[in-house]
Symmetry: D3
Subunit: 237 residues, 6 copies
């Protein structure tokens, strides 16, 4: 029995539900996926500020998971907030949806486009592409200029995202698309059918990456940067 926690770093439970459903839909038999909503931080993550404030909640969730013997974690926000810190805390693997999605797309073509929400988050996606070595596969990052929480409520959301993907593929000459927000996790199949190119959702990709690493018996290395942090006093403020 493998237990994977899919942590939504924002505090919006409806979004956790969408995310957890996508994760559960791909998980293998014997894998229990649980969606976890962060208890502290912003309602959605649309700036460096939001991202920074979401990290303590992610770390608290991972610490809780460790106490419960969870096997691995997905951080389900495309900025992969708190990834390094979470790996220090966790025993098993911790995977961000941005890294998993970009790696998956790198196998399907020679260059992908990322389609994200607000244009102010493009810089962060670019930074992650570099950090993960995926810069050479990433031909462009595009915003559909729709706030995260509207993805669920706006009846035009799918259409807007689909059109942004179509444009991205044309402009970049790319052969795959990465959806740059956990809130788009359930749009993949439809957009892929519409556009005729693979469309990758990071939530599914990250869940399966965790599952695969657990299957191979691979855990976060405790030699080096991801060793357990030194114990010390933390002020609550």
């Amino acid at each position: 029995m493998t237990r994977i926690w899919v942590i939504n770093p924002n505090t919006t439970r409806a979004m956790t539900d969408t995310i957890a459903a996508c994760a559960a839909a791909v998980a293998g038999p014997g894998v229990i996926v649980t969606g976890i909503t962060s208890e502290i931080g912003p309602a959605s993550i649309e700036s460096h500020y939001d991202e920074a404030l979401s990290v303590p909640g992610v770390l608290r969730a991972v610490a809780q998971g460790e106490r419960e013997g969870v096997d691995g974690y997905v951080i389900a926000c495309f900025g992969d907030p708190g990834l390094d810190a979470a790996r220090e805390v966790a025993t098993g693997p911790v995977i961000g949806i941005a890294e998993a999605a970009m790696q998956a797309a790198s196998h399907l073509g020679t260059g992908f486009s990322i389609v994200t929400t607000l244009s102010r988050t493009i810089g962060q996606s670019a930074h992650l592409a570099e950090r993960y070595g995926m810069q050479r596969f990433c031909r462009g990052i595009h915003a559909c200029d729709m706030p995260v929480l509207d993805l669920d409520s706006d009846p035009n959301a799918r259409k807007v995202v689909t059109e942004a993907c179509r444009e991205a593929v044309e402009i970049d000459g790319s052969d795959a698309v990465v959806l740059g927000c956990a809130g788009m996790a359930d749009m993949c199949d439809e957009i892929s059918r519409e556009l005729g190119v693979p469309v990758v959702d990071g939530v599914s990709a990250a869940t399966l990456t965790v599952q695969s690493l657990v299957t191979m018996g691979l855990r976060t290395s405790k030699r080096g940067d991801y060793a357990t942090p030194p114990v010390k006093h933390y002020s609550a403020g």
Copy 2:
């Protein structure tokens, strides 16, 4: 039912058996893994020359797999020979063991070492690390200077590889190891226990990557570089 072919690009059947066993050991329920031995080319791959001559056999195997409706392929040699060409021929995903192993290791620490067979193959591993964007995680590539086919027959093989891994981790200050030959696929657990760091075998990693992509319904993009090759005359020589 998912069918994955794990193609051994050399013609040595004993090595295919080891590889297929490792792949099958990690595959999920409902996944049938078949080891395929290339019918043309070298008995082992230890030079650019060997690698070049192994590619037609790999492509013949993929073409055969397509006729049989295979869902995805692993190329089980650390040089990932013929990867781009195989993707043009295949409908489903094709994954090399080098790319899969390096990506897996990139999640477990901040820098890994590769331990391979002969030192003359170091250059090729370095080239692949660059090509896959994994250069930034790869802290060093080390040879244990043991020919590929001795890995199976030499009683000291495990010890030699283990010591090469130990040295690599020390010298590079790395926190994970990637085994750079399909013939080392069954040594992972033992070396990992010995050294206390994650040790990644590409055969398992690539098999699970194919399985994950198939689960997500993701196939090789036919828009762009990996489109089906134009039909033309090929001379048999």
Copy 3:
């Protein structure tokens, strides 16, 4: 009158005092430097986990500064925690001591060494060097393996840091040294005299960078990534 806040992202007041004294010693006439101790987070920053938990305190301090009309900010920890987020919140410039120190060193020679505290923080310094474009000047990063809070209390601290600097310069063939911890801010002159190469302290460098930008009338751009974050609900946990 220019007001600069030098924010110590950890909660140790004695360290703030050292930092503020170094900053004040270089500030020009008409510049008022105030040391600010973070109210929430860790007592020292020695892991990604510590760094992540220090960020909310830094952001709270900057928000307070904005209400008081502060002209610019220094983030006085070599990991530059919360830099991007703080820039979204601030009107004036926000400078990390790592970026300021590396840039200063880049003018004095063709390659510098960084000497930091614990070896587990080397990866983070390397990441910052890349992020700031200073990778090409950074010839090596070395740890003196002394915990941050011992820098102040251990009578051997200066000697240990000096010897680590000496070794770094020899091994790397570098021509300048960057001290990789705010707690080393008052050691520069002595080590420089001892070694005969320029030794850069980031607290002084960052303070003067803020002062210079304010003098030129340059503020954080509010077009693009550093625009004020969208207003939304934040849960306190």
Copy 4:
């Protein structure tokens, strides 16, 4: 007396004739250039698949050349197929037309454009530009979307290629052009006159590079990656 073999990796003899004539036209006195048509593989090379299947024929030709004491080899296809493997087999230098053309262009301006045949080969040219370190000089890669074998037969070919070059120079702001197909070898002078910028043909450039290396007494190094491959059994399939 210097003997250079210019190997056409495809099986189309008419193309070998064009190539050999271009090579012979620039070779110095005392240099005998012989065009060699590959005996196995595709009639033209327009995919990774074609390229992979052309390599065994190239290697067979080089092996034959070694038996006849040939001094050096040109691989006359812009994908430089089999270059590393051929160097392992050869005693003298082996030069691909892509590397030679890009290097020549790098001396004539600060940035060149490549104009190739089908757009699906753009990725391969980009990969070679990176591999040879020429990425920094390569401002763009453009396809004229004409199949390789039409270059010789289509009466509009020169016009189509010329217009593609003109557009490339404008769009990229480049100051030189590299023709990205051996089948364009005889178009250089005309396009250069038309456009007023240097236009480089790889066949001439590679032939003269081989000639120059032979004149200097420089051969492929047998220390390292290009050492003669280990002898082993190869199955014919």
Copy 5:
């Protein structure tokens, strides 16, 4: 008392006056800024040829400054001509206006545009951006196609430069502007007000960088590349 020489590498005194006024306007109390006009070389610098011929004059000025005990130098041409050589000759810091301006801009946003004079100088700016590690912040380099000496005399100059800046920001999606010519030093405030983004002048930035380094007691390292050149015979020609 700190003495800074701001060296105009061309021989046009009117331009030195503009430059010196901008430098003096930002210098702190106790800092004496002197504008120095080069005595040998071109009237303006608009080619590699001009730049090369300006260097001996820059070096002569620095040698003169050393004899007079000057504390630091600014090289006030955006090509930073002679920077490495001047550092070998100088005791104190020597700063080019390109490096100082790009570094300042890197603190204010995530990506800047450079606006320079003639398009033929774009390549040199790109080269400097790479050399200083600022390539990752530089989103584009644009020419306003106005000769250097017309900046002062042409009544449309400010308008032309402003419009070029506006276009650059739009096209590049950048959040700051670097003015790429010392002759634009006095246009900053106006353009910044017009465009609503920070606009950086290198003369001010470099002057304050020298001042800051002197304040910190930091001088050019004499260990390594910037050691005093070996004494030898120089022919006057």
Copy 6:
């Protein structure tokens, strides 16, 4: 009839003689090689300062060559001083010995070592390797710590250089050597025989590169950065 001028950028005639002899020894029939000694500047080039002061002499020589209808130029100092400026002035190709040597070595193995004179010139060689895209082939740069003018007079010079080459190959694991000073031009064959790896002299390589470009009818592009410089007043000082 092709006329090539091999310009020695320092003023030491004996060195010009060695250089010209090496160039003439490889030039083809119908090529007249003339050694040109610079009339202004340093007796040898061992610093950025020397290099800067050598450039006006190089440019004067090229201007003289243009008046005499010279077909191409070699700049025979491993710093390639004045290369960009010379290309603006010249009609035919201008080649530096560093670029030509590194490119030649890039064809013979997968990684070369550079052996130069004084260690203070290592930085400049590294900079050129980057500029020419040869960084990826350059495994190390080593100094033999012998002044340029002693190469000719010191009876131990060949031995010292040979031993430095031997060490470089061992330490770097390289498979070829580039000699990093025009004054070493006549040592190649001997060192190559001694070490068993190809040893490249830039003077021969650059001469043959010029000859090849002239044979192909390729000249410096006058579109873009290398266009003829704008005419203006130059003060003689």
